[in-house]
């Protein structure tokens, strides 16, 4: 028998066993589905959240205030220096007039304050968008220090407070994502392996008989491996399908910020494929782990205290 023929045989056997033992299989598949659904939902929500933090990060900026009376040549020089820096994004200049307009709209009651100041009551400034996700924090800090010593620069406001808070939020989300994602994945794999191992216990006697009539390990295990793989793949596919369905339903029914923020975009196909693959691998892994020779006692009639003991 060639390897391909053997594979075909294994698949046929595995499918027949899946169907004949459909109750156990269904239980196993549903548990796998649930594990992977959980993991998938988590990645769905966390990828949407990370999108959100990206948006937040995109909103932060550095503001450079010029000393009063700085001429446009000096402003252009500073602007050029900043634009050349690796961390800077879009740079826009806020003229004293614009600053006054802003001040008025922010504090309408203080409007008359500005009147008393003459031509340039507020200094001109540069607002620099910073893409914090790509920025080298150290280099930027150094650049900002240099800027601060520039005679025409009066003050550099780098949103430090807001950023610190944002940093915390992002750190939290990342940490959560890492910890929870890892734990979820481990749980899924362990659960699937347990389930497959339990079903292997069910077929303990069957395996013992196959050994006794002269089948090699290759032939005994093949169908069980494929059965585990199939269960995992089916579970993964079901999980992906339920995720899609759940997502669709939530978007259709749910309204409000929560849904739109948590579920705005769905997983990309490659992520779904990953989910299915993961299921398959976990199923296969479970089968392999549960069929380790030692774990199934070669002799079926000689357990020390019931079938579940090893000899």
């Amino acid at each position: 028998m060639t390897f391909l023929q053997a594979l075909l045989y294994f698949t046929r056997e595995a499918s027949v066993n899946l169907i004949r033992g459909w109750k156990v299989s269904l239980l196993a598949i549903l548990t796998i589905t649930l594990s992977l659904f959980l993991t998938g939902s988590f990645f769905l929500v966390s990828s949407n959240l990370s999108q959100l933090t990206k948006t937040w990060r995109g909103e932060s900026k550095v503001v450079v205030y010029f000393a009063p009376g700085t001429d446009s040549a000096a402003r252009d020089r500073v602007r050029g220096e900043i634009a050349a820096a690796a961390w800077s994004g879009e740079v826009s200049e806020v003229s004293p007039e614009q600053a006054a307009t802003r001040f008025r709209s922010a504090f309408p009651s203080l409007e008359d304050l500005l009147e008393g100041w003459g031509d340039e009551p507020l200094p001109a400034s540069l607002e620099i968008q910073v893409d914090w996700s790509t920025v080298d924090g150290e280099a930027m800090r150094a650049d900002l220090e240099t800027l601060r010593t520039d005679p025409v620069v009066d003050m550099v406001d780098d949103d430090r407070d807001w950023l610190a808070q944002l940093e915390t939020a992002v750190l939290l989300l990342r940490g959560l994502a890492l910890v929870l994602g890892g734990v979820l994945l481990l749980t899924a794999v362990f659960t699937i392996a347990s389930i497959i191992r339990l079903t292997a216990y069910l077929y303990h006697d069957e395996i013992a008989v196959q050994r006794l009539v002269g089948a090699t390990e290759f032939f005994i295990r093949g169908p069980f491996y494929i059965e585990g793989l199939l269960q995992g793949l089916l579970g993964g596919t079901l999980a992906a399908a339920s995720l899609a369905l759940g997502h669709w339903l939530a978007l259709r029914r749910g309204d409000g910020l929560l849904v739109s923020v948590l579920l705005e975009r769905f997983l990309v196909p490659s992520q779904l494929l990953l989910l299915v693959t993961l299921g398959g691998l976990a199923g296969l892994f479970g089968a392999v782990a549960s069929l380790r020779k030692e774990s199934l006692g070669r002799t079926a009639e000689v357990p020390d205290g019931g079938w579940e003991e090893e000899v």
Binding site: M1, Q5, Y9, N17, R20, G21, Y203, D205, E206, V209, Q210, R211, L212, V213, G214, A215, T216, E217, F219, T299, A300, E301, V302, D304, V311
Partner: protein, 264 residues
Amino acid sequence: MIEFYQVTKRYPGGQLGLDDVSLQIPKGELVFLTGPSGAGKTTFLKLIYREEMASEGYILVNGRNVSNLPERKVPYLRRTIGVVFQSFRLIPRKTVFENVSYLPRVLGLDAKQQRKVAYDTLRRVGLAHRMNAFPMQLSGGEQQRVAIARALINRPDILLADEPTGNLDPELSEEILRLFLEINLEGTTVIFATHDRGLIRRVGRRVLTLEDAKLRRDEHLPGEMVPPAPRRRSEPEAPPDASPEMESAGLSEPVDADPIGAGA
């Protein structure tokens, strides 16, 4: 050729299964194994196909020491040995056909050949019509015959039958005995563990008697029965009793209407 040299089997817990047994069974012999319940008959057989390992002494099967056979070679030993287990040990998830043709399938026989050989063998034990049933849907005696068919299907060098007629009526027992005699005549070494002294008396042959794990007697008894002539496969036979299983299996050559070939 099966040789036991001072073989002792002690089970975990101290129970003696076999105690200092030495004997030889030449190739092609048919030997009866008897003795009271718990005497060690099953243990004796288990040691040969290495379900159990001897605690002391050694066992040669066709000149090979089965006690130190590496694990991965054990399946090949077992393929040359057909075993009718005392508790049948059929696979509940597989049909009668699948149970019987398991080894041929593992050995890579193509589907048509599998069907043919399984059908032939099941016919010999009178169960061709139950090919697609599951073991749990059979009576005790029917299950026992499936176990017998499974042991025979690969035409093994050695046939170990552990109480193979315990659940069969006297007529069927006799027919199974004839079947074993036939197979023995084709060159298979047969060890037939049984409590049925009637059977032994009818056939004669060498009888090993175990008692309290020891080999008490090893004697030759004269038989009453004339051994059957070897079955000739090409012999013209009665028309088939048109079983649907057979037709679906694509078999078209004439088959024996006599369920277990006792008429040969």
